[in-house]
Amino acid sequence: MPFELFVALRFLREGRTQTTLLLAGASVGVAVIVFLSALIDGLQVSLVARTLGSQPHIIVRAPDEAARTLTDSPESLVQVVRPAQRLRSVDQWQQVRGLLERTPGVEAVSPVVAGPGFASRGAASRAVAIRGVEPEPFSRVIDVPSRLVAGTWRLRGAEAVIGQELAKELGLELGDKLRLSAAEGRADTFLITGIFDLGNKDVNERWVLVPVRAAQTLLDLTGGVSSLELKITDLFGAQELAAELERRTGLVAESWMALNAQLLTALRSQSSSRYMIQFFVIVAVALGIASVLVVSVVQKSREIGILKAMGTPTSKVMRVFLIQGAVVGGVGSVAGSALGSGLALFFTGLMRNPDGSPLFPITLEPRLFLTAAGVAFVTGLVAAVVPARRASRLDPAVVIRNE
């Protein structure tokens, strides 16, 4: 064992009360950081997951029709004329689909034929969003099958899968018939084969999933699709990827981040307040370690004086104290990680949904512990700099004389 480490450990063992205080301080600091991170990460992951439970990561669609500007009046009265919004198909969507599927980072591509319509049963009627999808690719973008509350994930011919709110409002059950109508009097009857709960009331109320071909007929978009919906690998890289896809396809690509700007802002401010809190915790822990070590330098001045009188180099004396800081940080990070994880687990145990499932999952990743350990280690080391310098500057002649 190196001499400095040996002496450092002996110093720590000798100053039992101080060492206990040091370790407690470092552990609590690390625990707070771990707990806070686990909690906030978990919260954010579950918020994002909830949001993306019924949203594709990126939607690629045809650009809005260009607005024409008319400046024909002598008074230069500017008039902007927008064409009436109507469904536009994505040009050459099969090729675009192929291109998207070959783009690195894209995991799944689902063509969607979407448009407004009415769902009715008997006298009851509701405004809905008709969504024509291919079951397999669509389920890879939005995982409907695992969130079916009844029936199966099957869309053939004139079959439809609807949300549980709509089913409730129209009093529909599996095997019941549902009438869908769209603009210009086009209408068709569908058999309910599945009922889903995507965790979003609006979606549960409005989405009617039908086969692509049926939607094309209803919405007068024969052979076309209104959008291509994507699942990608790097959630938080959605914005960049969308921009790249726009460049490559000439179409409009909207990321979930753009569509949920408010959520993202909230997440960001949450993250920055977390970093603030962590920063101040680190500063407090560092000051605590530094002040306890400074006291221990004074208490150990006799030993330090003897070592220095014997000719121990300044660097070795400094290292003895730096090592103490590092050991405190290191041990504190282990104890603190355990404490913080325990707290986080305990806390999520308390916060439960009515059905007993955790309100949100906490995420305890190895990366979190490694970061906490690194931060604690460096904090301990930095906190020990001032005490180490004090120790190294002690005048051995004074100590030898006065003891």
Binding site: F3, R302, L307, A309, M310, P396, A397, I400
Partner: protein, 235 residues
């Protein structure tokens, strides 16, 4: 050539009312294998001289040479004092000698460790030294489990550890009884004569004076070299 040589040392502590001149133009030479005694009343400046020779403090004026190293010239330090101390000087201090939370063996090992010479061989040599000083059965004892004399012997073992050319000891026998102090003095004498070490020992103990080659007396900061009582000069 003298192993240690001090020339015209002056040292003043404090200012004005509390000013104390601890060293007044002190010069001293000690040769290889010589054991020199430093006598004098309390407060006469013996410890001041010893710590100045040992580069633990520095004179206002004067020079100190250790071996071929001009360590202090005209009151100015010219070398890495800590390095010279750990490599060339063995100290036995008047007080505060041992590190309280290290056992006897580890206290001796410190001398090797600070020179980056720790390891198994160092451990064996430290044990052998303690054995040589009659502490073979006390290696694992902590300082507070040792008598004053035993502690002093551990300190002596530590001072001898690196086989330095100079040993400076401040009243090493103060805590020892008559027989033990004679033994310790004989030990220094043996080390000096066997290894050629220059030894300077501060002592009050006139009973042990015949163990010294030279005797220097301090009085109010002034050093006087007296003819040796038993007139047995260094070989």
């Amino acid at each position: 050539m003298h192993v240690i040589e001090a020339q015209g040392l002056w040292k003043t502590y404090g200012k004005g009312e509390t000013e104390v001149v601890a060293l007044r133009d002190v010069s001293l030479r000690v040769s290889r294998g010589e054991v020199a005694a430093l006598l004098g009343p309390s407060g006469s400046g013996k410890s001041s001289l010893l710590t100045t020779l040992g580069l633990l403090q520095f004179p206002d004026r004067g020079s100190v040479r250790i071996g071929e190293l001009e360590a202090v010239i005209e009151g100015r330090l010219r070398v890495d004092a800590a390095r010279v101390r750990r490599e060339r000087i063995g100290f036995v201090f008047q007080k505060a000698n041992l590190i309280p939370f290290l056992n006897a063996l580890d206290n001796v090992l410190v001398a090797f460790e600070i020179n980056n010479r720790g390891g198994r061989e160092a451990r064996q040599r430290a044990a052998a030294l303690l054995d040589y000083l009659g502490l073979a059965d006390r290696l694992a004892h902590m300082p507070d489990e040792l008598s004053g004399g035993q502690q002093q012997r551990v300190a002596i073992a530590r001072a001898l550890a690196m086989e330095p050319p100079v040993i400076l000891a401040d009243e090493p026998t103060a805590a020892l009884d008559g027989r033990r102090s004679r033994d310790v003095m004989q030990l220094f004498r043996r080390v000096a004569h066997e290894r050629g070490t220059a030894v300077v020992i501060v002592t009050h103990d006139h009973r042990t004076l015949d163990a010294f080659d030279t005797v220097h007396e301090m009085e109010d900061g002034v050093l006087r070299t007296t003819p040796h009582p038993s007139a047995a000069p260094a070989h």
